[in-house]
Subunit: 186 residues, 2 copies
């Protein structure tokens, strides 16, 4: 018995290189890669969060192609992954889809050091047994805006190499894969 | 003291969905994501292996843009990552760049079960201390051709979730990130 674990990929509010709050464009491979990692590690839902209607429609068209269209017939395993995608307008909508506000824990990830993080080993332990569903949130661009991090129930520590290399600029596709492996890997 | 670890991404010979041997096209985000993961985990070189001249030139143009051109000025950390990229024609060329044939170990990865794999924990232990450089090889498409796997010094076990989900179709961007984290993560 483990807790329900969902992920969300946020396109707003996130930071740009100058730490301004921006809205990023959807990247096709983010849709695919995070869905495939989610399916691999038993994640229940992959919320793609975007405030702009045309961008949500784009994601929906990608998903339809793979779930109901020619893509899924050609590559059936991709269909299984993209069936996890749920397109929403805001992070609050993603949380509400999992339960009432007090019934869902929101955990955020950040490559930069902010606040007091929970180690990935501790987070893994917290996912064991019974408990409220967890929504694990990743940011695009240069990471989640401070307001999202401050409103969360927990902040996970950044992924690190054992030997300090001084470099922590993983792609969100890589970071999500590693975090899910640390939380749910063999 | 740890052994030198390099990675290679192979576009030929790899399998397609029907297990035919094919040559895949370069994916821009493979160049970026694997370079960023490599830099994060202290990998010395990232070889992009492609037999087609025009595709090698494409990779070189991408790298030049980020190493010497406008891209690197705008995002300096990307420059650091893409400086690891070395474009080569064959896997043998990548190996030869690291040392004489008997002086380099070639380790391959596969999502499918073939032969007797080395566990990722054992592979991590083997990287400690002194020893020959290791070239860790990833395939595009549906994975490395059997001939590459059979010629290697070691085959690493596939990445797995702790709870069997029956799904092992990670992107190569995700798989490389996870394997490097298992081998060199904190």
């Amino acid at each position: 018995m483990t807790r329900r674990l969902a992920i969300a990929l946020v396109h707003h509010p996130v930071l740009d290189a100058r730490r301004s709050i921006v809205t990023t464009a959807v990247t096709n491979l983010d849709v695919h890669d995070l869905a495939r990692s989610a399916r691999t590690y038993g994640v229940s839902d992959y919320f793609i969060v975007h405030p702009i209607t045309a961008q949500r429609e784009l994601v929906q068209r990608i998903c339809d192609h793979w779930r109901d269209g020619a893509g899924g017939k050609r590559i059936p395993d991709r269909k299984l992954a993209l069936e996890l995608v749920r397109v929403v307008t805001s992070l609050a909508d993603a949380r509400d889809a999992l339960g009432a506000p007090g019934d869902v824990e929101v955990w955020v990830t950040a490559a930069r050091s902010v606040g007091t993080p929970v180690t990935l080993a501790e987070a893994r332990a917290r996912l064991e047994g019974d408990g409220r569903p967890v929504l694990l949130v990743f940011g695009t661009g240069w990471g989640l805006a401070d307001e999202v991090i401050l409103a969360a129930d927990a902040l996970l520590e950044p992924v690190r190499a054992r030997d300090a290399t001084g470099y922590n600029h993983l792609s969100v596709r890589a970071a999500c894969a590693i975090v899910l492996d640390r939380l749910r890997g063999a």
